[in-house]
C-alpha cells in the first residue's frame, strides 16, 4: 500500500505533466472560452460552462490513466502479483483524482470569478467540484480500463464515459445555480454524494474486469 502510493507519487513528480497540465489546460480552455464567447461571461450560463470545461479536462486527463502501465507491462505485473488488485486500482484512481479533480476543485472558484460568477458562490463552486469530481475519476477509470488496449483509445473513451458523466454535470451545475439563486443546496449535495458513492461501489470491480479484458488483447 505504502509502496504503491509512493510509486504513484514519484510518477507524479517525474512526469510533472500529470499535475501541472490539467491546471494549465483548464485555465487555457477557460481563457479560450472567454475570448471566443465574451457575451457568455457573467451570464446565466456560467455554471454550466464551468462544469462543461471541468468535464472535458477530466476527459483529457483520463486518457493516460492506464496507458503507460499497460504499454510498459507494469499492469500485467500488478494483476499477476498483487494479492488484492483493488488496492492498487483504488490507489491509482485516488492519485488520478488528486492530480485532476482535486486541483480542479482548488482552481474552480478562481475560474468562476474569471467567468464572472459573484464571489459569494465561490464556496458552492468548490463544494460542487469536491464532491462531484470523485465520481468523474471513478467512472472514468472504468472507461479508461476498457479502452487502454486500443490504438486510438482517446475518443472511444470519450464516447463511453461522457454519458456516464452527465448526472454529475447536471447536479454540479445545479448546485452552483442553486447557490446563485440563493436556494437550498441540500438536494444537489445529496445527489452528488450519492453518485460518487455508487461510482465508488462499482468502479473497482468494473475497472478490474476492464483491465483483465484489455490485457487479454495481447
Amino acid at each position: 500500500m505504502k509502496a504503491l502510493l509512493r510509486r504513484e507519487w514519484l510518477i507524479v513528480l517525474r512526469a510533472k505533466g500529470a499535475v501541472i497540465n490539467p491546471v494549465a489546460f483548464l485555465l487555457l480552455s477557460t481563457l479560450i472560452f472567454v475570448i471566443a464567447a465574451p457575451d457568455a461571461v457573467g451570464s446565466q450560463a456560467v455554471p454550466g460552462i464551468l462544469w462543461t470545461l471541468v468535464l472535458l479536462t477530466q476527459l483529457l486527463a483520463l486518457d493516460g490513466m492506464y496507458r503507460r502501465d499497460f504499454d510498459s507491462g507494469v499492469l500485467e505485473q500488478t494483476l499477476v502479483t498483487a494479492q488484492v488488485p483493488f488496492v492498487a486500482i483504488l490507489t491509482r484512481i485516488f492519485m488520478q483524482w488528486l492530480s485532476a479533480g482535486f486541483i480542479i476543485t482548488i482552481l474552480g472558484p478562481g475560474l468562476g470569478l474569471m467567468l464572472g460568477l459573484p464571489a459569494h458562490v465561490a464556496g458552492a463552486v468548490a463544494l460542487s467540484m469536491l464532491i462531484g469530481t470523485p465520481a468523474l475519476s471513478l467512472l472514468g477509470s472504468i472507461g479508461a480500463s476498457v479502452t487502454v488496449g486500443f490504438s486510438r483509445g482517446g475518443v472511444v473513451l470519450a464516447l463511453l464515459v461522457l454519458p456516464l458523466f452527465l448526472p454529475t454535470l447536471i447536479f454540479g451545475t445545479g448546485l452552483v445555480e442553486a447557490a446563485l439563486s440563493g436556494g437550498n443546496l441540500m438536494p444537489q449535495i445529496y445527489a452528488l454524494s450519492l453518485i460518487s458513492l455508487v461510482a465508488l461501489a462499482i468502479a473497482p470491480f468494473a475497472t478490474l474486469a476492464g483491465l483483465k479484458i484489455s490485457l487479454e488483447m495481447q
Binding site: A3, R7, T78, V80, K212
Partner: protein, 208 residues
Amino acid sequence: MLTMQSLVCERGGQGLFDPVSMAVAAGDCVELTGANGAGKSTLLRTLAGLHSRYSGSFDSADSLFQGHRLGLDGLLTPLENLAWFAGLEKQPVEQERFLDALQRAGVLAKAYAPCSELSAGQQRRVAMARWLVSSRSLWLLDEPLTALDVSGQDLLAQVITEHCALGGAVVCATHSPIKVANKRTLGLAFTSSESQTGDGYPSDDPSE
C-alpha cells in the same frame, strides 16, 4: 507447484497446440520450446492468469511472471521499480537488498538512472534483479535470454539453478537452450486436429 491437465490455450476459438499435461514439482526447471507461433507465450500468460481462453485445466501456485514486456516503469529508477514491486508482494522495503540484487544483476551503476535511459540488456538485467527480490517460488519466464550479453546469459543460468536448488520451480520459454544442469523440456506442437474443435464455445468448466 504446477499441474496441467490436457491444457490447450485458444486464440480465436482455435486450440493452439496439442493438449499439455505435466506436473512441475519444487526444484524443477522446465524449458518450454516450440516453433514461432507454437503458443509458448500464450501458455505462460495462461498460467499467470492473464489469458482465460483455454480448455483443460491447470492449478498453479502464486507465480512470478516475466513476459515480453518487462514491466519496468520508465520514469522510475531501478531501485524505485524494485521497491514498488516489493510493495506489490507485500514485502518490506529494504534498500540494501535491492542494491545487492542490482549488483548481482550487474546494473548497480544504473541504480539511480530512470529505466527509460537503460539499454535493452540493462533493462533485462533490472528485471532479473526483480526475480532475485521476489518471494514467489514459481517463475514463469518468456524468452529471458533476449538482449542479454554473454555474461548476462551465464548469470541467468546461475540464478535459475540457485532458485531451483532452493526449492523453487521455473518454466522458461526459450529458443536457445539455457545452461542449467538437469532440466526438463516441454515441447509445444500442433499435430492432431481433434484438439481443434473450433466451435468457439468455452469449455463447460472454465475452472475459475
